[in-house]
């Protein structure tokens, strides 16, 4: 197949001004951390971008005190409409500085600039805009006549959508009158620190948002601090379990958004080209670093060969490489550790008897890369059909009847999302009804919106983010 050659179309990085080192954002100011600083690298080049402070127990304590003070003195007593106005300001500032955020996100995370520009940053701004409007309307949220904030929220977020996950956590917490201590992921702290500048530009009162960077130990300090009233975590199911254990027996409220192993079900009447686009979007969006990625493709047996052939043809046209290039489809794997994990699980795929397929083409010499990968002949017992790979690896299985599709789709300890491809509306609705998953996309995949509650069934976690339902995670209800 002849392909049009694309000239390189790199986005300029001159818009961002990365400082050589960053402190912690506590009580409205950047301050030194007392831990040994960590380096954050560009995963596409392995270039060190900056040195970032690491928060210790003492630093976290300082941040929680600042958050408590702000909750008691400024943010808590503030008129709800004014809280809303601050959030509107933040939404606008994110839009104004969208390009800067997108470039910084791509440099620190490795995701294609097209995605950070068109998905991460606009959605983050939308989340603040949406929740801003809730701030003075909470009595209409269906949580009783006078729902009250919980207090200080300790929030720990992952590296796959650094700014967007920050928005999912911070926006609802602030809109409901809570204050925040947020720990970004150790490999992607930079947009959170730029967000701290946005808080300063918005004149957000000191202590309302505190950002404490660091790794696992810092996160543990945040969630286990005795003066934290609410813990919100997005990340792996393994860490989620340990957090649930840590808050057991306390008064802390907890919401968890954990892993997934979503089934993407293609029925024989699905429009193949459209389905293939959805399959690609489902598993290769953000290099597959998506908790709701459609990592298990269930294809009706009669169309299996056609779908797989069309899928491979399409994957052959994907551009893997420089995330800063505007034509890039798949960027870099976020870290060396994650790359190792993907390699390990993919190796299991082959040794357990599945057939591995990858497109032709070279990968860059430096940086962390993994080709888009399709495993066929996968059995439900294979590790690649059960474990979350969190990378660009698709496992293809077949089914004969809708009942079998549902049974296979639900045959997982996870329950975050699922996809259905069919032209038949009644079948879509029936299968949707039977899938044990928190989000179901029919004839589309990986769509997100602040008005649409997101979260898992089963071991994918509990609580929702977004929508009216998401507010419940941050409010004490009388009803």
């Amino acid at each position: 197949m002849t392909m049009f050659e694309y000239a390189p179309a790199p986005e300029s990085r001159s818009i961002v001004d990365i400082r050589p080192s960053y402190g912690l954002f506590v009580d409205g100011e950047f301050t030194d951390g007392t831990g040994t600083p960590l380096k954050t690298v560009n995963p596409a080049t392995e270039e060190v971008l900056s040195e970032v402070a690491v928060g210790t127990d003492a630093d976290v304590d300082r941040a929680v005190r600042a958050a408590r003070r702000a909750f008691v003195k400024t943010w808590g007593p503030m008129r709800p409409a004014d809280r809303g106005k601050y959030l509107f300001r933040i939404a606008r500032l994110l839009q104004e500085r969208a390009r800067e955020f997108a470039v910084l996100e791509t440099l620190d995370n490795g995701k294609p600039i097209r995605e950070s520009r068109d998905v991460d940053v606009p959605l983050a701004a939308a989340h603040f805009f949406y929740h801003a409007g809730w701030a003075d309307k909470l009595e209409h949220a269906g949580l009783g006549p006078a729902p009250r904030p919980l207090g200080v929220a300790g929030q720990v977020i992952p590296w796959n959508f650094p700014l967007l996950m920050l928005a999912w956590k911070v926006a609802p917490a602030l809109a409901t009158g809570n204050t925040v201590v947020l720990k970004p992921a150790e490999t992607t702290p930079l947009t959170a620190l730029l967000f701290a500048e946005v808080c300063q530009q918005a004149d957000l009162p000191p202590g309302v948002v505190n950002i404490v960077t660091g790794a696992g130990e810092t996160g543990r300090a945040v969630i286990s601090h005795p003066d934290v009233d609410k813990v919100a975590f997005t990340g792996s199911t393994e860490v989620g379990r340990s957090i649930a254990r840590a808050v057991a027996g306390t008064e802390k409220r907890l919401t968890l958004e954990l892993g997934g192993k979503a089934a993407n079900i293609v029925f024989d009447d699905a429009p193949v080209d459209q389905a293939v686009e959805g399959i690609v979007r489902g598993i290769f969006f953000n290099q597959g670093h998506v908790c709701c990625a459609g990592s298990r493709l269930l294809v009706q047996e009669s169309v299996h060969d056609d779908v797989v052939a069309a899928l491979q043809r399409r994957i052959g046209t994907l551009r893997v490489g420089d995330p800063m290039d505007k034509n890039t489809d798949l960027g870099a794997i976020n870290s060396h550790a994650q790359l190792e994990r993907i390699r390990e699980l993919a190796a299991y795929g082959e040794t357990e008897g599945a057939t591995c397929w990858q497109p032709e083409g070279d990968l860059p010499d430096r940086g962390f890369w993994f080709k888009p990968t399709v495993f066929t002949d996968v059995s439900p017992a294979h590790r690649i059909a059960r474990d979350e790979v969190f990378g660009p690896v698709l496992s293809v299985m077949t089914f004969r009847t809708p009942d079998e599709a549902v049974a296979k789709a639900n045959n997982t300890t996870y329950g975050l999302s699922a996809g259905i491809w069919s032209e038949k509306g009644s079948r879509i609705l029936q299968v949707t009804d039977q899938l044990r998953a928190g989000v179901v996309w029919a004839n589309t995949f990986n769509e997100f919106d602040p008005t649409s509650p997101f979260g898992g069934y089963k071991q994918s976690g509990y609580g929702r983010e977004g929508g009216r339902q998401g507010l419940a995670a941050y409010l004490r209800s009388d009803s």
Binding site: A126, G142, G144, T237, G240, R241, S242, I243, A244, R245, A248, G249, L256, L258, T413, I428, T432, R436, A437, G438, V439, V440, W441, A442, N443, T444, E447, D449, T451, S452, P453, F454, G455, Y457, K458, Q459, S460, G461, Y462, R464, G467, R468, Q469, A472, S477, D478, S479
Partner: protein
Amino acid sequence: MSDRLPVRKTYKLYLGGAFPRSESGRTYEVHDAKGHFVANAAWASRKDGRDAVVAARGAFAKWSGATAYNRGQVLYRVAEVMEGRAAQFTEEVAAGEGLSTGRARAAVDAAIDRWVWYAGWTDKLAAVLGSTNPVAGPYFGFSVPEPTGVVAVLAPQRSSLLGLVSVLAPVLAAGNTAVVVSSKERPLPAITLGEVLATSDVPGGVVNLLTGDAAEIGPWLAEHADVDAIDLAGAPAPLAMELERSAAGTVKRVLRAPADEPDWSADPGLSRLRPFLETKSVWHPIGV
């Protein structure tokens, strides 16, 4: 008639729609509030707990898949049948909890009314807790509440009937199935309630009532991979913490217990429905 020798009841478990003894063959003595022997109750074992989970999982598809209207009618039917047995419940509650007949009857009445209240919720939850989502794109988006699955319920220790109904009815109204460990010292109303459920069109397995010790069976339920949620109402503080910790292993939803058993006559609102409901958000494209 007064010289007739009464026929006493053998109190057994209610499991999978039947009334078996504990597989362990164990029983324990139940005394009234004054310390007099009343009956031997079945002393449920870990294995009974696991059998109950199997029964509850088996019943889940049918119960959660029933129409909300149907579930509402079945729960209303429970109230109807209980009303006819009010005298028996009153006697058991009065004896077990040491209440006057009048106060016991008030608790029974409140328990019956609680079924009626929850029966009316089944077909309103989707409207009250669900939504259509005005997403910024060409999609029809909506969110619906769905039952969490199999819920383990450690029933309150003091309020043997009203407390029990207050924790069980919302689990069922939301479409879940239940494995209940009754009050240990006051288990008899639970088994009588089982007899009501068995004759109220509640499908077998939807409710499984185990009499015995929450401290013995609770840890197995908290750990069990096929239990989706646990209500710690009847677990004392140190046990509750241990159970919450072990429930974390399978990311169960945990409804914590307040330090002291609450006043069950208070209006429960949605506080016991929300914890056992999941929200499913659905996206469908708009276009040709």
